[in-house]
């Protein structure tokens, strides 16, 4: 039995601060393989589907069909179409960031270190939000330029300086970031991976189809205000009539995000870990 020295001067003397908790959450995020896999999936979907959509457009132009003689190409929207698939990966990762701690028991270690609890939630949201914003902005530009390069062969491409295009590219990234933060909030509310993922995509994908079957004046009054429909306006160059304006829609989406995070904060304080 060797003697152990436990007394240490190396442990320092600092206390818990929000920047330190942010650093801790950053370490947690970058030390899990699932973070990389899921982010890679988001990037792959976004660029891959964007390219596919642009090839599809070229194909239509090369082999015109009588039925779509009036075929038009929204060059910006087409190259960014992949975000609809990427939101699945971002939503899953947002839920996992929180629910992964509950399913493994890690949450008790996290909350023992930060017993005031709320800094953990804010730090998770900040770290995941920032990572998503950076990764999806770069990806959105890559998808946009790659898509335009394909469309350029038939001179149907567009440029960033065209009206609304830059907003659409950045808006794609903003929408995906909002989806990620919504997922963090819902993950913290539900604390279970499967349940959290089901809730996020129930809200984003299933709810709109349910609202569609409501009486027309109901669905036209509710539909545009659902989180998915509202948030996607900022990522769309030419909005459908009856939908909210881009920034209004994004504002509505942000309200959902805030509501989920505030709800999560209240429950985190109240519930036993």
């Amino acid at each position: 039995m060797s003697t152990v020295t436990i007394l240490s001067t190396r442990a320092g003397s600092g206390s818990v601060t929000l920047p330190r908790v942010v650093k801790s959450e950053w370490i947690k995020f970058r030390t899990l393989r699932s973070s990389y896999y899921t982010l890679f999936a988001a990037v792959f979907f976004m660029v891959g589907f964007g390219l596919l959509a642009c090839y599809g457009a070229i194909d239509h132009l090369d082999h015109p069909d009588v039925r779509d003689h009036a075929f038009s190409i929204d060059a910006a929207d087409r190259s960014l179409r992949g975000y609809l698939a990427a939101q699945l990966a971002i939503g899953v990762l947002g839920v996992l960031v929180v629910s992964g701690e509950y399913s493994t028991g890690m949450i008790r270690a996290s909350l023992s270190a930060v017993p005031r609890r709320l800094p953990v939630l804010w730090a998770k949201a900040a770290v995941f939000g920032a990572i998503t914003l950076v990764v999806t902005s770069i990806t959105a530009f890559v998808a946009f330029f790659a898509g335009q390069a394909i469309l350029a062969s038939h001179h149907v491409d567009t440029t960033l300086s065209a009206s609304g295009v830059l907003r659409t590219v950045l808006g794609t990234s903003l929408y995906l970031t909002a989806v990620g933060l919504l997922a963090v909030g819902i993950g913290a509310l539900i604390r279970n991976t499967a349940g959290g993922i089901a809730a996020v995509f129930g809200l984003l994908l299933v709810l709109p189809t349910l609202v569609e079957v409501l009486p027309a004046n109901w669905s036209s009054n509710i539909g545009p205000y659902l989180p998915g429909a509202a948030g996607q306006q900022v990522a769309t160059l030419h909005a459908d009539p009856g939908m909210l304006a881009p920034w209004t829609g994004f504002g509505v989406m942000c309200v959902y995000v805030l509501a989920a995070l505030i709800g999560a904060a209240v429950m985190l304080k109240r519930r036993d870990a």
């Binding site: 039995m1 003697t3 152990v4 020295t5 436990i6 007394l7 240490s8 190396r10 442990a11 320092g12 003397s13 600092g14 206390s15 818990v16 601060t17 330190r20 908790v21 650093k23 801790s24 959450e25 370490i27 947690k28 030390t31 899990l32 393989r33 699932s34 992964g100 701690e101 493994t104 028991g105 890690m106 949450i107 008790r108 270690a109 996290s110 909350l111 023992s112 270190a113 930060v114 017993p115 005031r116 036993d272 870990a273």
Partner: protein, 317 residues
């Protein structure tokens, strides 16, 4: 220093911990004992503010746990070895916890060495054995160099060498003047490690006593004697003051109380009586513990008599 004042935890109609008050002093290892389901883990979670008490409160080093500015420097806890993300390496787990308090990387290296996890520290914790998980739990408890340690069942899953290591570690931590609270459902283990005992059953305090006191009260003081001359020896002993002799099913065996074994041996020698066995009876600590918590065991196996008779066929009435 830990103080629990009227701690109570109810889950719906079920009371897990009821009006529990105790204090844990620095400088010694205090054992927190109770059968499974007695409320030990719930109590420890309340000490750390993970569960909110239904009534009462707990004070650790002068204030509630959640009110400390640097809780890991005040209290190191291992509530369950598995409070770790299985996909992360042990080292990164500790690094993430350390970051919340600005504890430097060198301290992480230090605790990894203290618990002997150096070789596996960069491996994913999901693949850890129970014993390695316990060591990692202890490493995270030591991270902030805290004055108080709260460890829930730290010897679970450890091999004999690991158990000895924990025992020495806990004693040396206490010897440095720290407060050490260790839960266990194994009385024998606590008898070797702890100096003081807090025993609970069904969420209520049963005993708050020193191990020495507990051991003393556990021994019956009787002596078992086995001799072919049981009748003669029994008669001789019975004539002594304050000595009672009881005989069991075995005619060669006497249970003598009120006399020391030396006294019995000499008496037998004086009368040239042969002795086969002379054993002071000390109820085992485990027995004493079971006796004490008998009425407080949450989960008890029901002994069903073996069905021997074929059930009588029911006749339609």
């Amino acid at each position: 220093m830990i103080e629990a004042v009227g701690l109570t935890k109810r889950y719906g109609p079920k009371t897990a911990v009821q009006d529990l008050s105790f204090s844990v002093r620095p400088g010694i290892v205090t054992g927190f004992l109770g059968p499974n389901g007695a409320g030990k883990s719930t109590t420890m979670r309340m000490l750390l503010g993970l569960d909110t008490p239904s009534a009462g409160h707990a004070i650790v080093n002068g204030r509630r746990y959640s009110e400390h500015a640097a809780p890991l420097r005040e209290v190191g806890a291992m509530l369950e070895a598995r409070a770790i993300h299985t996909g992360r390496s042990a080292y990164n787990h500790l690094l993430a916890l350390a970051a919340t308090h600005g504890i430097p990387r060198s301290r992480v290296d230090e605790v990894v060495d203290v618990v002997g996890l150096r070789e596996v520290a960069k491996k994913r914790a999901g693949g850890f054995s129970l014993g390695m998980g316990q060591r990692l739990g202890i490493a995270s408890a030591l991270l902030g160099d805290p004055a108080t340690l709260i460890l829930d069942e730290p010897v679970n899953g450890l091999d004999p060498e690991g158990i000895l290591w924990i025992r020495n570690l806990l004693k040396s931590l206490a010897a440095e003047g720290r407060t050490v609270l260790v839960s266990s459902h194994l009385m024998s283990e606590m008898a070797l490690t702890a100096e003081h005992l807090i025993v609970i059953g069904r969420g209520k305090l049963i005993a708050d006593t020193s191990v020495e006191e507990f051991t003393r009260s556990a021994s019956s003081g009787a002596v078992l004697v086995r001799t072919p001359d049981a009748v003669r020896l029994g008669k001789l002993l019975g004539e002594l003051d304050g000595v009672t002799v009881t005989t069991g099913d075995d005619v060669q065996v006497l249970e003598v109380s009120g006399a020391e074994s030396e006294q019995i041996g000499r008496l037998a020698a004086e009368h040239s009586l042969v002795l086969f066995e002379l054993t002071p009876q000390q109820a085992s600590l485990e027995e004493a513990f079971m006796e004490m918590t008998k009425d407080a065991v949450e989960y008890e196996a029901v002994v069903t008599p073996r069905a021997t008779a074929v059930p009588v066929k029911e006749h339609a009435a």
